[in-house]
């Protein structure tokens, strides 16, 4: 998934408050708050999304290691590395030596979780690599929709351009994860069968 191209994001100092005539999206902005994002705010949010994904994949890997599911743990660890590279690249694009404060303390996302986060509750101690990729796929698809929504809502050209660029990258990630899933193959139907399950009252 490490396929990010050289960015074309304009620096924040050149931000315009209004878009060029005739460039307005055909649909109205879905969320007034999103519509007024500056490029700095947008990129801070994009960085936070990647950073939260790094943290989450790391936590998922820890959980799998604790339960000796090392194959899936390694896969989550790899995902964390990819997302970490994306986060670093976003910093580089903006010329930030470190993320802005607004990005560090956690955003309030449209839903409870950051769009690219795999939910904790979807884990299973016997899950297989295909399941991990299935969760990653859903996360990438959500991220793609998120940037698409931001692009549609943006009223400044630089934010729209950046959002469309990131949406395209997420779309590429979706395709890559799908290809990866074909390689690992679907697990057997009885993958969750445990001859000595932890639950005695089922």
């Amino acid at each position: 998934m490490n396929t990010r191209k050289k960015p074309h994001v304009a620096p924040p100092a050149k931000e315009k408050s209004a878009e060029a005539p005739g460039a307005r999206a055909t649909q109205p902005p879905a969320d007034p708050e999103k519509a007024h994002l500056s490029l700095v705010e947008f990129m801070a949010q994009a960085w936070a999304m990647e950073a939260e994904a790094v943290q989450r994949y790391g936590e998922l890997a820890d959980a799998m290691e604790a339960h000796n599911n090392l194959e899936v743990a390694a896969m989550f660890r790899t995902m964390a590395q990819y997302e970490g590279k994306h986060a670093d690249q976003l910093l580089a694009e903006m010329g930030w030596s470190e993320p802005p404060i607004m990005a560090r303390s956690g955003f309030r996302w449209p839903s409870f979780e950051a769009p690219e986060n795999v939910p904790f509750e979807d884990l299973h101690y016997l899950m297989q690599p295909w399941h991990a990729l299935e969760l990653a796929l859903a996360a990438e698809q959500q991220a793609e929709r998120f940037f698409g929504e931001l692009a549609r809502a943006a009223t400044t050209p630089s934010v729209r351009r950046a959002a469309l660029e990131l949406q395209e990258e997420e779309r590429e990630h979706v395709a890559l994860v799908k290809a990866w899933m074909e390689k690992v193959g679907k697990p057997d139907r009885d993958w969750a069968n445990d001859p000595d399950p932890p639950v005695h009252n089922e």
Partner: protein
């Protein structure tokens, strides 16, 4: 302390995590609560060595080991007793008590009432999954009366404990509900609870996917409280007693003076304390 990460100029959530990996079941909501606690401490920028996490017994009570703060993994149901003593003796520390619904509302129920009443300036986080997870799935005080399983066929038939109402009625100065599936929102609530003077009670709905797999649905049921926090206990009580149990937010923020009253500090220097044991 559990080997804190090397200090950086600005503390991040990672600075509050220990090197130990949680052994909770994959999918457990407590992972997310741990993340929220560390994020909250990063929001407040309080140094790890000035924070103490005190717990009782249970799955969620393992949380002190997973932070780089000072910790005390205590006796079943007694987290609040230890935390209260600590805060009164060392008021300069940020004291968090944490545990589960079984630990806090059953064997620790009496401590819960009186901790609310005393209003010592500490924060109590209860990871509520409506079940005793560590001992393999018995009904807890917050279990629904009709939860059917082999250990309580047909359900216990006993009305569930309402911790927020009890906290409010007993004098807690800050009452909030959060959801583990909303880690950033929970972090903000925890930070707010720590900042608020007096006893802050934060109930965090934290699914047990092993014994209550149906709780995965909580993410579709939880929602932000549509009202602003109030300092009117009667209004807060009405809200809490009539909501659906999935209302997330600060539900009450009072203005009671925390113990010790009138700013008196019972703190003694180690030398003064030692002198009391001489002769």
């Amino acid at each position: 302390m559990n080997q804190p990460a090397p200090p950086t100029e600005v503390l991040t959530a990672a600075n509050y995590k220990s090197v130990y990996k949680p052994i909770w079941c994959p999918g457990c909501g407590d992972f997310s609560v741990l993340s929220s606690v560390t994020k909250a401490l990063a929001i407040l920028q309080v140094p790890p060595h000035e924070v103490v996490v005190v717990s009782g017994i249970g799955c969620s009570s393992r949380i002190p080991a997973y932070t780089s703060c000072y910790g005390f993994h205590g006796v079943h149901g007694r987290a609040l007793a230890a935390a209260t003593g600590l805060k009164v003796a060392r008021p300069e520390l940020t004291v968090l008590a944490a545990g589960g619904d079984g630990d806090g509302y059953s064997i620790g129920g009496n401590h819960f009432l009186h901790a609310c009443r005393r209003n010592v300036d500490l924060t109590y986080i209860v990871m509520d999954n409506h079940v005793y997870g560590m001992t393999k799935g018995q009904a807890s005080p917050t279990t629904e009366p009709d939860w059917d399983n082999k250990l309580s066929p047909g359900g216990t038939g006993i009305r569930a404990f309402n911790p927020l109402v009890i906290a409010l009625a007993s004098g807690a100065n800050f009452v909030a509900r959060a959801f583990s599936g909303d880690p950033n929102g929970a972090a903000q609530i925890i930070a707010e609870g720590i900042r608020h003077p007096g006893f802050s009670f934060i109930e965090i709905l934290s699914p047990c996917v092993t014994f209550r797999p149906e709780q995965r649905e909580w993410k579709r049921q939880a929602h932000h409280a549509p009202v602003a926090p109030t300092d009117d206990a009667a209004r807060a009580a009405r809200r809490i007693m009539t909501d659906d149990g999935f209302n997330i937010g600060v539900l009450y923020a009072g203005d009671r003076t925390p113990y010790p009253l009138n700013g008196r500090s019972p703190q003694l220097t180690p030398e003064q304390l030692a002198a009391e044991f001489q002769t």
